[in-house]
Symmetry: C2
Subunit: 358 residues, 2 copies
Amino acid sequence: MGQQRTLALDAMGGDHGPEVIVPGAAISLERHPGLSFILVGDEARIAPVLAAHPALAARSRIVHTTQVVAMNEKPSQALRRGKGSSMWLALDAVRTGEAAAAVSAGNTGALMAMAKLILRPMKGIERPAIAALWPTINAECIVLDVGANIGATSRQLTDFTLMGAAMARALFHVERPTASLLNVGVEEVKGAEEVKEAHALLKAVELPLDYRGFIEGNEIGQGKVDVVVVEGFAGNIALKTAEGTARQIGQYVKDAMMRTWLSRAGAFLARGGFRVLKEKIDPRRINGGTFLGLNGIAVKSHGGTDALGFASAVDLGYEMSVSGLIERLAADLETFHHRLDTVSEAPRQEGTAPAPGS
Amino acid sequence: MGQQRTLALDAMGGDHGPEVIVPGAAISLERHPGLSFILVGDEARIAPVLAAHPALAARSRIVHTTQVVAMNEKPSQALRRGKGSSMWLALDAVRTGEAAAAVSAGNTGALMAMAKLILRPMKGIERPAIAALWPTINAECIVLDVGANIGATSRQLTDFTLMGAAMARALFHVERPTASLLNVGVEEVKGAEEVKEAHALLKAVELPLDYRGFIEGNEIGQGKVDVVVVEGFAGNIALKTAEGTARQIGQYVKDAMMRTWLSRAGAFLARGGFRVLKEKIDPRRINGGTFLGLNGIAVKSHGGTDALGFASAVDLGYEMSVSGLIERLAADLETFHHRLDTVSEAPRQEGTAPAPGS
């Protein structure tokens, strides 16, 4: 194990900049000794932190820039002004092939906009998506889109399914990942037409995945499928709601254990169990949204995370880059877009002619 | 305390029928001695269960019907065939004024469709919504729409906000409830135009509530506001995702406590704390979605709940009916629809003329 890969890190991104990015990279390097890094940002700030991590320093080179995309900058502003920023240069290193993936804890909207512009959507992909790893009872699943776009056509949902399956293949090492569309339980509710149409497409076409139909929100964490597909508004809300609920229940547990001296004593005895629990629900363990559908890998870390959390995002970038994900997905899209087109055009040919102007 | 109110219960609804509905009503009657009931359903099945609850029997009358809406029946089927069913007759008792609210654990889609047909939307309301009580760190908040419809216009979102505020006023006894629109964090993302428009409307118009702007999914459970407004697809997914996550973390806690004999011993000592925790996250404690925006109160209980859970739904129907919610909401709608209309038409008058056909 341990393939050689160079990752480009936006050293200025996130709430803390190099003070978190550099130690985070050092942690990930210990886990993946084949890693090397391009650290993009202000050399005067990076170099002193890097000096404290000699093993990392030996595997890193700094690309200096003082330009930074602010956390509150609008994507359109960032695109206009952000050329030459640490975020831009990290993504550009992926475009030129110098880096196998870029990782940034910076402004999500700006990163998405820049990644689209620099790396470009893959052939046939109308919209890239952000995929998140979601902890389940048994392991993890992939949920997408968690906020790259709002709304999705049936065709975009089927593309997301192919994209998520490629990521599952890369990370979970299963050849035919299971996948479901996230839907609401109420039958015959009006409006989710695009979800129903995507369901019909996914059932009709032979794809390199095992499509399992609809699931509901409460089933995501049960680990029923490897890939859960939903448009980005509901997907983002689901992800954040799950994070909030986990924190809320964690707080309830703490409060319940602090109630009486007896429960405090019990909690002390059970501290080994609580430590395991804390690790299990530690949001730093799984950190990183991945942009899928671009000609290159870009990973977004939580902005407020610490070094341990940033290391998880770096790990994700590494695992994605060693997997050949992009090449395989490109091949899948070529094969299956043709099949999807055939099927989605069929009803039109069979049905009555569309009304003029419709 | 303890106002007189008659509720109509669909005694055949849910997975268990009278065996859960009748004991559930008995529990709620103990809490609210002013309650009386119309139990709608098969007398041959209701009477024997009712005989075991003499206090309830003294406050109940059975309306006999053998017709039942099946849990898997489609709303359109239920509407065609369901006249005279236990669900239908319970709702009809609200229409005629015999009952102050109807409660059913039956098929959600059918209940929604029937409630709309029988109780009719309030004047000016295009779409009723389903509101859920959501446990927060400090108390509860109201989230709507959790699945009556998919998608919502900006005007419908502002109506939902007024409806949710009326419910908060009724249940939380605050005169100016705080309210927020649920949104995704990424700025300038394309597509949530209707959410942004609703935001502008709610800021521009003086309403009987304290509008606090956007919140994200992770903030719902923090109890920042009394009312959280979102269209029904994302709202349903958020609600179910939160339920699933709470169950998942509960499972993690159990597993962590069973790991070693020491943690088991600790958990035993802390069992008082765990009991409090279990009660706190018990889904039966808060059970019941309310249809808002109709000329009458209809409460939907979880189909699979037990007597204790059904009692929570009956409690909700009672609290809603003693609050004068419908009358107050009708008055609010009359006042504020006019203001909303004035504001939402303003930009059109000021701007350029719309293109023909737009």
